[in-house]
């Protein structure tokens, strides 16, 4: 009998948390592994990590599987809770796992204000273009025309471009990849984690059950091939017309700039306030 080999990242998994709850072929496993690989490679002290999870399948990436402090909160609010965690203990590395519905529909307000504040919260947003957990309802990210359980005649609304939204709100680090682009995703997650300010890493991810099936690609591997084929690096996209970009996914690092981080500004404020006599 051969000895069972442990996965090199298995010590990041909470004991007793298995089996996981994701469907076969879900992109969440790829994102989970990418994140744990990021932690492992940058060698961050696990005591300093807090994962804040929203409601939706994306929340189940860290909760309960990652063996770190985990706060699994109400729908749409992980960034608001994370703001309190980061300002409460600024030396903690606070990472939010959220979905497209959690972050941009019910929680859109918190997303744009966290970007505006440049608080050192790192948001990993899993965008599967659908409400997967509740049964495949249309999302703010669902492309026009797609038939979902709640748009049986096709979606009338225009979809959000989440990365653009965060850039417009003042996001200081914004990148988008797909579950096909694992190496680049890990590279962006590393940059997000080591920087002080806010970061938004959007990951287009396959939901074969509730989205793939609707668009005629129910095989997860085929969905990832579709991501590969339709992805356009941001550098190339800048040269392309709107018509040429129709149906494409623009990927890459959109913004990477330095700006004062909020919890550091508070530390300075405490000094100023204590110098003032009144």
């Amino acid at each position: 009998m051969s000895a069972q080999m442990a996965h090199p990242l298995s010590n990041y998994i909470r004991k007793g948390a298995q089996p996981h709850t994701h469907c076969s072929g879900c992109g969440n496993g790829i994102i989970a592994q990418s994140f744990l690989r990021t932690l492992h490679e940058i060698g961050i002290d696990r005591k300093k990590i807090v994962c804040v999870a929203g409601i939706g399948c994306s929340g189940w990436i860290p909760s309960p599987f990652f063996d770190v402090d985990t706060l699994h909160v109400t729908h749409g609010r992980p960034i608001a809770f994370a703001t309190g965690v980061k300002l409460g203990k600024p030396d903690l590395e606070v990472v939010v796992f959220t979905g497209d519905g959690d972050a941009s529909a019910i929680g859109g307000n918190h997303l744009i204000h966290a970007a505006r504040r440049n608080i050192g919260v790192k948001v990993i947003c899993v965008n599967n273009m659908i409400y997967g957990m509740t049964g495949g309802e249309v999302a703010p990210t669902t492309p026009r025309g797609i038939r979902t359980t709640t748009t049986p005649f096709g979606n009338l609304e225009r979809p959000f471009d989440l990365s653009k939204l965060v850039i417009a709100a003042g996001g200081t680090y914004v990148a988008r990849w797909t579950t096909y682009h694992v190496a680049r995703l890990v590279a962006s997650m590393k940059k997000a984690l080591v920087r002080k300010g806010f970061a938004f890493v959007e990951v287009l991810s396959q939901c074969p059950v509730h989205y793939g099936r609707r668009i005629g690609i129910s095989n997860p591997v085929e969905m990832m091939r579709w991501f590969q084929k339709q992805s356009v690096p941001v550098e190339r996209a800048r040269e392309m017309s709107e018509q040429e970009l129709a149906g494409k996914f623009v990927v890459g690092e959109f913004v990477n700039i330095d700006a004062p981080e909020l919890s550091q500004l508070y530390a300075e404020l405490f000094e100023t306030a204590n110098r003032e006599s009144n």
Binding site: P64, T70, T74, A80, N109
Partner: protein, 371 residues
């Protein structure tokens, strides 16, 4: 000093080091004061994008070990309800000050009403127990805010300070005790990873496995066990949660929800009132006493858990019980069910809701009952 300012100073004295707010009247002065005094204590004042974010962030801060508070009024209190339930569920100590104003909806921003009494008790979905205290003076805005923090820390639960526009905006003398003379309670923190692993659901209140200590706490608003592990489909798990939350608080009702008795020993008629209404009631009791009427005031300071036993004991001599509230009877059913059979109970709202009850009006009712 103004009631709202006293509330802010009480919070800082209690050890509050994180305050999140969304602008709303008549709670604004609490935020103004906090914004000025907290940074000097190296505490965070942050203005969030809405009340949902305000309470979310204080719960996040609470999980880092800080004492945290938010303040609001009716519309904001409504928005906070879901996350109040989250704080109950995850046993996150925090204080929510609701300076009640006239509603429903936007209502009148600067008129007093006690319209959120039932919402404080049952506003979030699901079955739970909660603590809510009603100050009736600027001094109590200070004292009760400290007490709210102490109870939150002791029972690992959100505590609501159910103030109202009158006590928030009135100015009167407030005595601020020497720092060392205050009783300040701090939550229990696990002393080992072993102890931290059972971080939830103990009737005697589990030590809180706060973040950044290497406890790898798993905190979820979903149904869970005493280890924090999600138990999303077992009814037995949610049964245990509901009963433990109840057991944690309700057996201690007498210590939590105190009452004040004014001239009750020989009183035939008892006015029951709380918050700003109790001020009118106290004035009326004294006037009626001057006219030879044996009347007293019974003031619940803790409204939730409802101090049924203590109030029943205090009312056992009463012949007539008049419940005075600035609403259409939110605490009244609770009072009515514990009044001894030997007494008759009546409900008395102010002539015009959204105004303080006029003393002559209340006195008139007391004199009628006495005759």
């Amino acid at each position: 000093m103004q009631g709202n300012e006293a509330c802010a100073l009480g919070a800082v004295a209690a050890g509050c080091r994180f305050f999140a707010f969304y602008p709303i009247t008549p709670a604004g002065e609490i935020a103004e004061k906090m914004a000025r005094v907290l940074p000097k204590a190296r505490g965070v004042y942050i203005q969030m994008e809405d009340e949902i974010a305000a309470i979310g962030s204080i719960i996040g801060a609470s999980w880092t070990g800080l004492k945290a508070m938010t303040a609001t009024s009716g519309p904001g209190f409504s928005l906070m309800q879901e996350n109040i339930g989250y704080a109950v569920m995850t046993e996150a100590p925090c204080v929510i000050v609701d300076v009640q104003r006239a509603g429903p909806s936007t209502g009148i921003v600067s008129a007093p009403m006690q319209g959120d009494v039932v919402q404080a008790r049952h506003g979030s979905h699901g079955e739970y127990d909660i603590i809510a205290l009603a100050p009736s003076s600027a001094q109590e805005m200070f004292d009760i805010t400290i007490r709210a923090f102490n109870l939150a820390e002791e029972y690992r639960t959100p505590v609501i300070v159910l103030a109202d526009e009158t006590v928030a905006h009135m100015r009167e003398e407030v005595v601020i005790p020497e720092e060392g003379s205050l009783t300040i309670i701090n939550r229990k923190i696990p002393s080992s990873t072993e102890e931290a692993s059972r971080g939830f659901l103990s009737p005697s209140v589990a030590p809180m496995p706060i973040f950044g200590m290497g406890f790898a706490a798993h905190v979820t608003g979903s149904s869970h066990d005493e280890y924090g592990k999600r138990q999303a489909s077992a009814p037995e798990a949610i049964d245990k949660i509901v009963r433990t939350i109840n057991e944690k608080i309700r057996p201690h009702t007498k210590e939590i929800s105190t009452i004040e008795k004014v001239m009750l020993d020989d009183a035939d008629i008892v006015v029951v009132a709380y918050g700003s209404c109790a001020r009118t009631a106290e004035h009326v009791v004294k006037e009626a006493r001057d006219r030879g009427v044996r009347v007293g005031l019974l003031r619940p300071i803790g409204l939730w858990p409802f101090p049924a036993e203590a109030m029943q004991e205090a009312l056992k001599r009463a012949r007539r019980v008049i419940v005075l509230e600035n609403n259409l009877g939110q605490l009244f059913p609770e009072v009515e069910r514990i009044v001894p059979e030997s007494a008759e109970t009546m409900f008395l709202p102010p002539q015009t809701l959204g105004t303080l009850p006029r003393p002559d009006y209340v006195l008139g009712h007391v004199m009628t009952e006495a005759s």
